[in-house]
Assembly symmetry: C2
Homo-oligomer: 233 residues x 2
DNA sequence: TTATTTATGATAGTAATACTATTATTTGAA
DNA sequence: TTCAAATAATAGTATTACTATCATAAATAA
């Protein structure tokens, strides 16, 4: 046995359900597949998506290019895969953390904090480093949809996890103020700005007002101020 | 003479000052150079930046790949060039349109409208189609800085026009409310969201609340609501 | 147990991309 | 008219993004 004698049904591993159209062979079902995910995250995090190639990935794993191509058609689908995984994981965290909270204001604050904070690596997901994934989302997240084939990808439901999250946040916004007119736009603004203000803070600080402390808590304060002023009656 | 006998000093052409580090040879100074800009905008608009190559560009102009490389080191610098040109042009429009306006609230509204509206082609800029450029900014704008060489590019002042605009908008925000704590972050939020909500509206409409009318005026209303609630005392 | 599917490894090959280099020809300014 | 600069034409390289083939190892079914 490969996992040191621990029966599969005893491992407490969090599984995120993925869209099968994203892959050719399910990477969760083999060691090679899990290595592809793990090393992709590492390489994209370290060198950016443009510099990432299946050849480098194969070398880093110790397999061949053809081996990677058996799992993913191309690097763009692999990017969408790991990004979808991230949004699924965030959705899980959101449900978990807001489970017993009644006050929608507190829920919305939780959302803002969750999206803006660089999490610790979640040990219940062996082959995924959530902290690196969060960094990838900041720098590469929008590249998933900023293509000339967005609509084709959207038809195949590639952005469902993102849209589900946006809807969930929109619902919380409506709980806070049922009359607010732009719950989805405000939700997508929160999600995108949590990442973009972080990118600006670290790389183009004059586009923000966080240059002194360079801390995530400043972004959270900005977003809370923005959001709660927008939705108050 | 190529321009039909009209002396150069009589042409009323708007010139945007560009950072010379962006090019090898100034494209404004020759017909070939102007063609490179014109056809680049056309091709990136039509097929997206990923599908854009110097070979296709050369073919579309009727020159060779080597000819294009004499003007621009690579396609990324060419993208930054046309994006910088756009921000320079927007800055000019902003100064022009808010020139005699005293009320900062009206100025800020002008900014939001300017950034959110797909302009008519400006005839004072012969080889540039501003309407296509606006579409390029929506789909490709963030790719200018979402790279692993942002900081190097930033050191070379490649993002100065964008930062200048952000500062100008930040100043208007402070005129509206000198106590507002996040003028730069709010400015970059306005600029980015004017484009991103437009992209979402057209390609991933469930991320917005504009799916019915799909009109820019809805985005303007959303942004005005967001901004003026954020900055009110 | 053997037979057989299935995943992987190893290797090769192609078309396109992102360049660099060389030489010849044209153009336009002094 | 001369001379320098810009352009055109052509060739060539390394890398990328794939596809195809065949052998072998591991899991599984008969």
């Amino acid at each position: 046995m490969k996992n040191g004698g621990i029966p599969n049904e005893m491992k407490l591993e969090l599984q995120i359900k993925m869209n099968p159209s994203l892959y050719l062979r399910d990477p969760e079902q083999s060691e090679l597949g899990k290595n592809i995910i793990k090393h992709s995250i590492q390489l994209i995090h370290d060198n950016g998506f443009e510099a990432f190639t299946f050849k480098k990935l194969a070398e880093s794993i110790g397999t061949t290019e053809a081996g990677v191509y058996r799992y993913f058609e191309n690097k763009h689908k692999l990017l969408i895969y790991i990004i979808s995984w991230y949004w699924g994981w965030i959705q899980f965290q959101l449900n978990y953390q807001t489970n017993n909270i009644k006050d929608p204001i507190i829920k919305l604050k939780k959302v803002i904090t969750l999206l803006s904070t660089n999490v610790e690596d979640d040990i219940t997901t062996g082959h995924v480093d959530e902290s690196q994934l969060h960094q990838i989302l900041i720098s590469e997240g929008s590249k998933a949809y900023l293509t000339n084939h967005v609509e084709k990808d959207n038809q195949q439901q590639f952005f469902k996890p993102y849209k589900d999250l946006c809807n969930a946040v929109g619902d919380i916004i409506l709980e806070c103020n049922p009359k607010y007119k732009y719950p989805h736009s405000l939700a997508s603004t929160i999600i995108e700005m949590a990442h973009l203000q972080n990118f600006f803070m670290n790389h183009l600080p004059s586009l923000t007002d966080f240059s002194k402390s360079k801390s995530e808590s400043e972004i959270i304060k900005y977003l809370e101020d923005l959001v709660f002023n927008a939705i108050r009656d």
